[in-house]
């Protein structure tokens, strides 16, 4: 896998928001690489910086948000060195995003067909109306929606169907890489499962990589091959999904999350919470940002930010792993 050219490379990416109290460090020196057709999960609690990172990758940061440092490359192309015009071409055709609030991603006064055709024709000026119509049909077919809904308005569709339409629009221009920001969070478990199955099904025919954002560990572990865990703007661990079945050899935060989730069928039915609450991103704890809540904390943790250490099949940012190989980006 690693011989292939990556679709996404994040090097030391930091994103901040200006606020009255000072800069909010929403994303803090993040490193991550995605390879073609790979599904990587990004999990973290509310406010940990997942959506901010996604917007930064798409170069869609708004308001007071800015890329404070680092490099973001998609298909080898530095996203922030593109001109405005190049960016417009690049976005949606090379990289696309399914937004967290999918319902508001659709235009309430346009039919499904009009919205798909609109996306296609804005980016492919040379596409004729009849070609676009044909493509819209293909896309609906791909996400298992009856073609009669081409003429439906968003409010006439169920939540699950709307989400499928949004996914169809995201892949309309055959991007190499799609970010999905909590695409199923608002849906019932059965609908959620059928959409996840659908995503995997589509991926067999259309080849694209996915950065799948969620706060649901069990769900991400089933879908993705690797999972990145975010805490207070930092990627504290990147691991193979299978390893999330097992306790031990994880970042203490990951370990805490694993102990906090009730398992559906395991014999063991005790769970433990992580004491305390996530930190204020304006005033991050010194050293390791997790240290006020960490059961393994020791003196160094309060002073030095830990390095990223290479594990057999992942990365961990924690002083406990000192002695393992350090990873230096840049």
């Amino acid at each position: 896998m690693s011989q292939q050219r990556p679709v996404l490379e994040l090097e030391n990416v930091s994103v901040a928001y200006d606020s009255d109290k000072g800069p909010v460090q929403a994303v803090n020196r993040v490193n991550l690489t995605l390879y073609p057709e790979e599904i990587v999960g990004l999990v973290g609690e509310s406010g940990s910086g997942k959506s901010t990172l996604a917007y930064a990758i798409m170069r869609l940061l708004k308001g007071s948000a800015y890329l404070a440092e680092g490099t973001i490359r998609v298909m080898g192309q530095d996203v922030y060195s593109l001109s405005k015009k190049e960016l417009r071409q690049f976005r949606w055709s090379q990289m696309a995003m399914v937004f967290q609030s999918a319902m508001s991603a659709l235009n309430p006064v346009m039919t499904v067909e009009e919205q798909i055709i609109d996306t296609l024709r804005t980016h492919r000026r040379d596409m004729s109306l009849s070609q676009a119509r044909k493509r819209a049909e293909e896309l609906l077919h791909l996400v298992s929606i009856d073609l009669k809904h081409l003429r439906s308005f968003p409010h006439q569709l169920s939540g699950g169907m709307r989400q499928r339409v949004v996914i169809a629009i995201a892949i309309a221009l055959d991007p190499a890489f799609v970010i999905m920001d909590e695409p199923t969070t608002a849906l019932d478990v059965v609908v959620q499962r059928s959409i996840l199955d659908q995503i995997q099904e589509i991926q067999r025919y259309v080849h694209f990589a996915i950065l799948f954002i969620s706060h649901d560990f069990s769900l991400v572990a089933e879908l993705a091959s690797r999972v990145a865990i975010m805490y207070a703007g930092r990627l504290v661990e990147v691991t193979k999904s299978e390893r999330l079945q097992l306790l031990g050899n994880h970042h203490p935060y990951t370990e805490g999350l694993l102990r906090a989730i009730p398992k559906l069928t395991a014999d063991e039915v005790t769970i433990e919470g992580i004491p305390g609450y996530p930190p204020d991103l304006v005033d991050l704890p010194t050293g390791c940002a997790f240290h006020p809540r960490c059961p393994n904390v020791f003196a160094d943790c309060m002073i030095d930010r830990p390095e990223l250490y290479q594990m057999e099949d992942g990365l961990v940012e924690c002083h406990l792993f000192k002695g393992a190989k350090e990873v230096h980006y840049v």
Partner: protein, 322 residues
Amino acid sequence: MSESPSLVAVSDLYVRFPIHSKGKKAYITPVDHVSFAIERGEVLSLVGESGSGKTTIGKALMRILEPTSGTITVAQRDVTHIRGNALIEYRRDVQMIFQDPFGSLNPVRTVEQHVMFPLRKHRNLKDAALQEALDNLLERVGLTPVAEIRIKNPHELSGGQRQRVAIARALAVNPKFLVADEPISMLDVSIRAGILRLMNDLKADYNLSYLYITHDLASARYFGDRIMVMYGGQIMETAKSSELVRKPAHPYTRLLLAATPGNPVRQALPETSNAAPDLLEGRKGCPFADRCPFVTEICRETAPQLLSVDAAHSVACHHPIV
């Protein structure tokens, strides 16, 4: 069962709401002839998809709404249609914790004001006794340091802390029974376990019974002694939690289990369509018939009765999987 009567006994509960369908007046029935009981010190988990009628059952139990028909008996008292003082008194025994910990708190009241009010009103505490009860209660639900937290407004608290305030306020009246309506679904993963554990510990300390409403089978199993599965306003299956998860007998329970993340067996979803259930009054047959892989003629004609498969396990299905 016959030795000591249940704390909560719901019999043939029916709730309907008026809607307008094609210009004509019609009704939906999100609670359609539902019967169940909750014993003292027991936690009953109520599971089902959104819109299946879970919250409506919780509100009927709280008597936030009045049932159309059927009876609700709590501590041997028929509370189905009580009003006025009787209702105020009833709310001392029964409290509810809501999904949205922000919406259920008053933004201009401090934590101590929220909790002090019921302590004063329902328990007639004042002065030093009131202060002591308040501090003890906040401490008990993990709102520490108490002195600091007491004077905060809801917007200065995290979601988990707000939910703890809601729990403290509910406990302030010394209730016998709590309805907890998706109390953790809006909280972060690392915070959820703490709230679930707190509710679990309080159960023992206060000899509380709960109706725990959730759409998450894993937490339903963790917290509930029994699980009751609802679909389209009707009860599909009830069993001891571990039994329900290990030996589901109803096709809808099997579908829920198959869809729940963390299930070691990955299989295609056992459903024939993803149509939403019909809640219109007067519908006939099994509410799950449109999606059920085992549907037969009789399913579309006659609604199955909830029948025991063994002592603590009942199923409403013409063709249960046993």
